[in-house]
Symmetry: C2
Subunit: 503 residues, 2 copies
């Protein structure tokens, strides 16, 4: 009986996954190779695939199969395929079936309207044109939260689809501790801005050679861009996966800055390694994805920052970069390069922020979203609240809303609690890395020799191989023996930047 | 009532089309950018999309809607959107629902097995390893024909999905007339092979510059490879369309032969122009495709051969090619180039054949398929029958089956009557071109000046704009006032090659 129900459930989930992965191919193509006029047709095709996948996944049959399998699956070992499949599918099913179809459709319409208004606001560098559509989205997000259900805050309901098991109360504790360290560190670094120059990165860099360099970099970290993946170019770098044997990353190259493309590639390669590390046995099920946005980000940040901005990496990589760019880098030593790629200081734009300040941008957004969803902040007060927090955390006052509350495309979907994963990822990256180092103290020496296999294998064994079987908290407990802990991250940031900025 | 049923029918057909076009994107990616290891996953995803599209299209609901709309649609003008939609959908529906699901599945399995056996046969250069799977496919194709229904020959039943309205009896008449002219012409050309050299094409040609040249060529014929389409590279050139605003062609470049890539691009650009010329109003319905394989081929052959191998085209294009390849082409005049690209003569391989001999390769295959399907030819007698016809038509005896009956991948699907379209296309290309010239006698002069708009517009107005509303025969009647007629083609071939070979 259970076997037959499980087989039936798998058949449905396989179809859903195939539709979703097909949509991912269409979306990848839209961002890489699609000719400009193809957008309207592509939008329709994507909408059809997503509608069919959603209808199939949320069908009553799936609910009945899950109900029938509940006791049987509960008797299996917790992280067995069977128990995990039923548990995780149940979680996703409950979340997706709680939202009425009309609300989902209204959210999609409101998002499309907000997207246009956001562009209008950006061209006027003002919040006002975006205000009404955004206020409508805030209302819809609160309705969605109410349908999902929450105790302390509507934010918690929306957070569930991004970070299973996480709550705003726990985030708030985390943010408080981070701010305690990062706000004064930011001010200290700002006061010594002249200690570090990144002029070496800001020179003309031929794009074809940059492309070669990015491929060398992703090869160093172990992303397979030949047999089981690719790298392409797109306006906004991203990672997508059609199965663990076909993982695509993209990058964007800036002909006058070496860092933008290189670190984008390393970042996406970290995401890509995660996807390439998910076992084929989990493929075509809801288990064949990462544990959460935050855990995914822990992998991208690990390779982009913890490794990619380390002395060891540049000891190995600088000669390779200098071979491609002898005029620009021939006279630069490892120490100068290390300092250049780690230049820090307050700035207005999140996506350009460094390791010291990045989390403050995220905390600001999460705090505003929480206040908006609780009704403590009115949508028309967002610019003022934004400026106030920018001054308090980063010591800056935005000159207009373009470099303020209108900078992220994310809010064209409303306050959806999606930003939290970026900071969770930063924090987790060090918690995992510290543990990997404890297990393998030779990792830094190996990285310095261009060998990243030990670290990569540790991440595969302790993170990638689980797919989404475990929640982020379960994964951290199993991998590090502790729940989420900001101290490794803070030790890393404090130590690194105290040295670089001579604090 | 009818309006509601039509709206419902369109909704179903829209979903089917979106699924099929999504599958086309996945298939395009598989042949252009997919990393090698991605094949297994991609195959599963494609199978799911195709299964869902097939199930949706052949559902009883579609049959009932079509039945309910029959009288109403029949009262509309014949080539109106409504009448055409119901008529063409009915035709496709009847064809697809006649095949039992088990037979379709068995055909797919047999095709996969035959594909492996075909490769085994090719590596041994022998028919024997392919024989049993091929014989099985012949049996399955005959079963399929019986399910579809036929009067004179099972070939007719299979031909219906490729060439609506065509029969083997009519093909046979056409073939007889073509052989009457082409067999002696082939022998005459073979006897004077030394009159024409294509050595100028067989030199080292840098691939990057060839790429530029192919893009210039497709721009000359008017294929939009920028806003509404693309060109990419693949092992086997093909054209696919995701909507009329996103049409993709591919080419392959040979670093030691200028012609292969250039004429592949022109050929696919012809297919691409057809797809780009189908009106948006027909999009997402069964009318938003070409009229048949043959009509599609008429467009690719027109631009590849009738234009692309004309004196006028090379008068315009040679200076452009010579600018990219001064060493190779600087000393070549238009006349020499014209002769080089039109070098003809018997050869073993269809895809390398020229305008004079190409149809004989097709006729040979169609005649063997007809004999196989009627039971007049046993599968193990194919190599012998092949060699006999090769001798009779082309004066050649294949040294082995690799350059004989194993050369086409098509027969890994069995004798499906799909080859006929190539010759129908060649014949139609001249019938259409002759009429376009009668309407616009200035076309050759315009082509010589690099202006193809008049010809392209004529094809758009008389061919592309109908989508699949008309059958090939209806289309020819409407465009040229006559049904299929081989004489324009024969006049063209005889005139052109008598001059080139001084016959």
């Amino acid at each position: 009986m259970a076997e037959a129900a499980l087989a039936r459930l798998r058949a449905v989930l396989t179809e859903v996954d195939d539709l979703q992965r097909a949509a991912a191919v269409l979306s990848w193509d839209r961002q890489t190779y699609m000719p400009p006029a193809g957008g309207a047709g592509r939008g329709e095709q994507l909408a059809t695939l997503q509608r069919l996948a959603h209808a199939r996944f949320t069908s009553p049959e799936v609910g009945e199969l899950l109900e029938g399998l509940r006791d049987w699956a509960g008797a299996q070992p917790y992280d067995s395929f069977e128990a995990s499949l039923v548990r995780v599918t149940r979680r996703d099913y409950d979340l997706m079936t709680k939202l009425p179809g009309e609300l989902v459709a209204e959210l999609a319409r409101a998002e499309a309207a907000a997207f246009d208004a956001w562009h209008a606001g950006r061209s006027e560098r003002a919040w006002q044109p975006f205000l009404a559509p955004f206020a409508h989205l805030v209302g819809l997000c609160r309705q969605a939260a109410d349908h999902i259900g929450w105790q302390d805050s509507p934010f918690d309901a929306l957070l569930r689809s991004h970070e299973p098991g996480m709550t705003y109360a726990r985030l708030d504790q985390l943010f408080t501790r981070l701010k305690e360290v990062l706000v004064p560190l930011t001010h200290a670094v700002a006061a010594r801005a002249d200690r570090v120059s990144d002029a070496v990165l800001q020179q003309p860099y031929d794009e074809a050679r940059q492309w070669t360099l990015t491929l060398q970099a992703v090869a160093v970290v172990g992303f397979d861009a030949t047999e089981r993946g690719r790298q392409d170019r797109s306006v906004h770098p991203f990672t997508t996966s059609f199965c663990s044997e076909d993982v695509r990353i993209t990058t964007r190259l800036d002909p006058s800055h070496l860092g933008h493309g290189l670190f984008a590639s390393l970042h996406e390669a970290g995401h890509g390694l995660y996807e390439q590390g998910i076992p084929a046995a989990l493929w075509r099920t809801p288990l064949g994805v990462g544990a959460s946005g935050g855990v995914h980000e822990s992998q991208s940040r690990l390779w982009e920052n913890v490794i990619g901005r380390s002395r060891g990496f540049w000891t190995f990589f600088l000669p390779r970069a200098a071979a491609l760019f002898p005029d620009q880098l021939g006279g630069t030593d490892v120490e100068a390069m290390y300092r250049a790629v780690n230049r820090a200081g307050p700035s207005f734009i999140r996506v350009e922020a460094d390791e010291v300040t990045y989390n403050l941008h995220i905390i600001l957004r999460c705090e505003l979203e929480q206040a908006l969803l609780r009704g403590d902040l009115a949508p028309d007060d967002v610019p003022g609240a934004w400026a106030e927090k920018m001054r308090a955390y980063l010591g800056l006052t935005p000159p207009d809303d373009l470099v303020g509350a209108l900078q992220d495309v994310h809010w064209t979907g409303g306050p959806t609690a999606g930003f939290a994963g970026y900071t969770l990822g930063n924090v987790m990256s060090l918690q995992l890395y510290e543990r990997a180092m404890a297990d393998h103290p030779g990792i830094p020496d190996a990285v310095q020799a261009g060998n990243t296999e030990e670290l990569r294998t540790w991440m595969r064994d302790h993170v990638h191989s689980y797919g989404s079987k475990l929640t982020p908290e379960e994964l951290l407990q199993q991998a590090t023996g502790r729940g989420l802990d900001p101290e490794p991250y803070l030790r890393y940031i404090q130590g690194k930047y105290a040295e670089i900025y001579d604090l």
